[in-house]
């Protein structure tokens, strides 16, 4: 890790914003009250200065270029950190569910049912809120590529949970553009 960039960027790139909002959407697909939980966790963690209400929280998420209605501009470092903290806390709450999806010890039939339910909810949310003409959205909705990408998202959430998850996810969201 010593060969990391010496002057890392401080704000999230477009790609980082896309991934962060997609991961928050996954939390909503896993938990029907995920949207409410975000607002509640934001208040609980003292982020009301950054996100005073659900509309402001929603606006920050709409910086994602993959959204149907997208807002121009990048998030400030504090706003991005706030959203990453919310995701970190959501992933921690959902960790048993994330773990059961990823575990190979679960009965295969039950595991497949859980994955099918998650993918169905995620697709509904994507069709409702995201721009279906964007390649990134089409790949997630694609029956061939979608399942593999969904697994990557769940694995990312599992490794973003817990005490070290915030720093790990933030570093990953700041990766150079591939």
């Amino acid at each position: 890790m010593a060969d990391a960039p010496s002057h890392p960027q401080r704000v999230l790139s477009r790609r980082g914003l896309e991934r962060l909002d997609l991961l928050l959407l996954c939390a909503e697909a896993l938990d029907l009250n995920g949207g409410e939980a975000m607002v509640w966790l934001s208040e609980e963690m003292g982020l009301t200065d950054l996100f005073p209400n659900r509309v402001e929280l929603w606006k920050r998420r709409c910086s994602n270029p993959l959204r149907r209605t997208t807002r121009r501009g990048l998030l400030s470092e504090a706003e991005a950190d706030g959203l990453i903290r919310i995701l970190n806390a959501l992933a921690d709450r959902l960790y048993p569910m994330l773990r059961s999806l990823l575990s190979s010890a679960e009965p295969p039939q039950l595991s497949e049912q859980r994955w099918a339910l998650f993918r169905e909810r995620l697709q509904e949310l994507l069709q409702e809120r995201f721009n279906p003409r964007r390649g990134g959205v089409q790949r997630l909705l694609d029956p061939q590529q979608g399942p593999e990408l969904c697994r990557e998202l769940i694995q990312t959430m599992a490794l973003s949970a817990g005490p070290g998850g915030f720093a790990r996810l933030k570093a990953s969201l700041m990766d150079a553009a591939a």
């Binding site: 994330l98 773990r99 694995q155 599992a158 998850g165 790990r168 990953s172 150079a176």
Partner: protein, 198 residues
């Protein structure tokens, strides 16, 4: 007085044993000198080791997890390192190499859930205020473009430059089809029309 610190997460149990380092001004409830640790991964052998082994474990597992988070499966752990981890067919493979001669390395398969459990245990150890053992924790860093290169298949990486070159060739072919303008002939002598008298 021997102290114990335990970190458990479904399939993983990490237990540290040690003593307080009173000479360094630490409290009597803080592990400052590690006398040993044990790591139990679900259904696999319980491993035991010293500080060097714990250092080797976290030096490979945490950067590996950091790369997995970015969709990159980079094997970690040099050939002579006591611990290595790499992508396996249906998950990951943790390899433990004994310092005893003629002892074959132990390979432990981990699925994605077990890797996440192990990473969570190591994270909790890192942030535990009751443990002050000098360990070198790798700091997560953004990956460079060259490190992310393997994430995309070759066809997708080449798609953009190849389509650019193709577009340039098509444009050049279309431009070459345009008729070239004929060279202009000698300019006719300017004739001034007399102004009508009025």
């Amino acid at each position: 007085m021997k102290l114990t610190s335990r970190y458990e997460q479904t399939s993983c149990r990490l237990v540290l044993e040690g003593l307080p380092d009173l000479s360094a001004g630490q409290s009597s409830q803080t592990i400052g000198i590690l006398t040993g640790f044990s790591l139990a991964l679900a259904g696999k052998t319980e491993l035991e080791g010293q500080r060097d082994h714990l250092q080797a474990l976290l030096t490979v597992v945490l950067p590996y997890a950091r790369h997995v988070l970015s969709g990159v499966s980079k094997p970690m752990g040099a050939d002579d390192a006591p611990v290595a981890i790499r992508r396996a067919q249906d998950g990951h493979e943790l390899e433990l190499r004994s310092s005893q001669p003629n002892t074959p390395p132990l390979q432990l398969p981990l699925d994605d859930a077990e890797l996440a459990d192990l990473v969570r245990c190591l994270d909790r150890l890192q942030l535990d205020p009751q443990v002050a053992v000098p360990l070198n924790w790798p700091e997560p860093q953004p990956l460079r473009r060259s490190e992310l290169r393997d994430r995309l298949p070759l066809a997708r990486r080449l798609a953009a430059p190849l389509s650019g070159v193709a577009a340039l060739l098509v444009a050049a072919a279309l431009v070459s089809l345009l008729p070239t303008p004929k060279p202009a002939g000698p300019a006719p002598a300017a004739v001034s029309t007399p102004a009508r008298g009025g």
